[in-house]
Amino acid sequence: MDIEKLAWIAKMKLDEKEKKELKKEIEKILETFKKIQEVDTSDIVFETISLSNTWFRYDTEPKKFDEEKIIQNFPKRENKKLEVPRLL
């Protein structure tokens, strides 16, 4: 398990100690769970858990939402624009 690569994909930063511990924990967890491989699933087809049927929404006149309620949570803003750090 490439814990560095995982950390990058999940955008998480860990220190060396955390990396070691987490790697061990996850490996132990997977070791314990690997027994699911022995279950025969050849008769199973993927389907959703929801019992709802296909549902479409009619394209009527748009509805306006008060954007202030969302903008109030922007950590940094310039007027209504969300301000984020630069891409390096």
């Binding site: 990058w8 993927f46 549902w55 929404r57 394209d59 748009p62 209504k80 984020v84």
Partner: protein, 460 residues
């Protein structure tokens, strides 16, 4: 050198609402972050609403135009995970293929599917605007059947003309995004991401094929990579390596129910589609329009729709006369004043053109545009307006013309005799002489008639 070129084309669909929420899909000309809601900004606890039916229909339309078949299994929505500031949930909801196995002018279409657009990230200043986030996109994936940059350009132009006709996509220019895949013999496939114009596709291909050819010549290996196109420098350049490794970890989106496309839905949509070829046939065979009128009409789908309405509903007129007014004068007014098609009252236009045609012969040609302008913008009746403005030659200048004709006939005795002896050319000569004396040039037929009348009266 023969190339293998394929595309992934993103087009914005023509809907009122966004794909999974009720915000407006028209995000242009709005202050940043004023066209948003909890769903399209990925707020904690928000979930997508059922997908916009019009978006589904539009994707199907696009697929049908491209000759695709519907995918008749349960179609799931997937989550495509990657981090980017303009992607609020840091995953994009994208569907499995809705339409598959098509062919458009010789290029095979692998599939067409539905996805949501991210917002806009201003890289230079570090600003994000979510107005566009969540608007519906169709993605068209082709097989690598395009063979050259020229082929690519022509094919894309045709594609966009046909898509315009379907009304399935938004009419805005510059709202296309193409990922270009190109490989040449002996080389791996290179992807050029996010080219925003047909010209850009053409130029990036020209550069890239040259670049790849050069590499092969010096014995270098073309590796599989993703590049981006710099329109200013007209080159392609490699993307940073970290962005190259993309593991999107696709999982079916548990918040959404899979779609099933029924036959009746397809039939309903099929009935709505007309391609340019079919319109051309109608204009030629049903209305006998001249070629130049047909080409002018086919340029703009909304104008075409308006003109067909007029042709269908106008009483007993020569379609070519009608087309002349429409393509010459009506079109000019629309262009010059940026008149919107939905502002034109179709039936009133039909009646007005009928009225206009009754005085067409008596009207100063130069003043036609003004009359048409008044018709369209101020709802003026063309006959009353022309009378009011003294554009009707008969009323205003008939006496003047008669006196000039008398003068000419007196001085051009040779021509008059020639005419009386059967030389038709002499009549044209006399008409020309009268015309040159007039500032406002009426319909030559009018002059002809007046001259004939005078000659008959005088030389009876």
């Amino acid at each position: 050198m023969k190339a293998k070129i394929g595309f992934e084309i993103h087009v914005q669909l023509n809907t009122k609402q966004k794909l999974f929420c009720r915000c407006s899909a028209d995000y242009t000309d709005k202050d940043p972050n004023t066209n948003i809601c909890p769903i399209c900004t990925g707020q904690p606890g928000s979930k997508p609403m059922p997908p916009n039916l019009e978006a589904i229909k539009n994707v199907i339309k696009v697929g049908l135009i491209l000759g695709c078949k519907p995918n008749h299994v349960r179609i799931y929505f997937l989550r495509k995970h990657y981090f980017y500031p303009d992607l609020p949930k840091n995953y994009q909801i994208t569907s499995e293929p809705l339409m598959v196995d098509g062919n458009f002018f010789g290029v095979k279409i692998r599939e067409v599917h539905l996805e949501e657009d991210p917002g806009r990230y201003d890289l230079r200043n570090g600003y994000v605007d979510f107005n566009r986030s969540g608007t519906p996109l169709a993605e068209i994936v082709t097989e690598p059947d395009i063979e050259s940059p020229e082929h690519a350009k022509g094919w894309l132009e045709k594609l966009f003309l046909y898509l315009k006709y379907s009304r399935a996509i938004r009419a805005d220019p510059g709202s296309i995004r193409v990922d270009v895949n190109v490989s040449i013999e002996g080389g791996e496939r290179v992807e050029i991401k996010n080219v925003n114009s047909i010209d850009g596709v053409y130029r990036s291909l020209k550069y890239e094929i040259l670049r790849q050819t050069r590499m092969l010549i010096v014995g270098k290996r073309i590796k599989r990579e993703t590049r981006h196109y710099d329109d200013e420098k007209r080159i392609t350049a490699p993307l940073r390596e970290k962005e190259d490794i993309a593991d999107y970890r696709y999982i079916p989106d548990p918040d959404l129910i899979p779609i099933e496309i029924s036959e009746s839905l397809i039939d309903n949509i099929k009935r709505d589609i007309l391609s340019p070829i079919e319109y051309e046939k109608i204009l030629k065979n049903k209305y006998n329009l001249k070629e130049n009128y047909i080409q002018k009409l086919l340029q703009n789908p909304e104008f075409l729709e308006l003109c067909i309405y007029v042709l269908k509903n106008i009483k007993k007129e020569d379609p070519n006369r009608v087309a002349e007014i429409l393509t010459n004068h009506v079109w000019r007014v629309i262009k010059d004043t940026n008149l919107e098609f939905h502002q034109i009252k179709n039936l009133q236009l039909v009646r007005n053109i009928e009225r206009l045609l009754t005085i067409l012969n008596r009207v100063d040609r130069n003043k036609l545009c003004d009359i048409v302008s008044a018709m369209l913008l101020n709802s003026e009746d063309p006959v009353n307006y022309a009378k009011k403005k003294r554009y009707l030659l008969q009323e205003v200048d008939k006496n003047k013309i008669i006196s000039i004709v008398k003068e000419i006939l007196t001085s051009e005795t040779k021509a008059v005799n020639d005419y009386l002896n059967g030389k038709k050319k002499a009549l044209s000569y006399l008409v020309g002489k009268v015309m040159s004396r007039l500032e406002i040039k009426p319909n030559p037929k009018t002059i002809t008639e007046i001259i004939k009348e005078e000659i008959y009266r005088t030389y009876r």
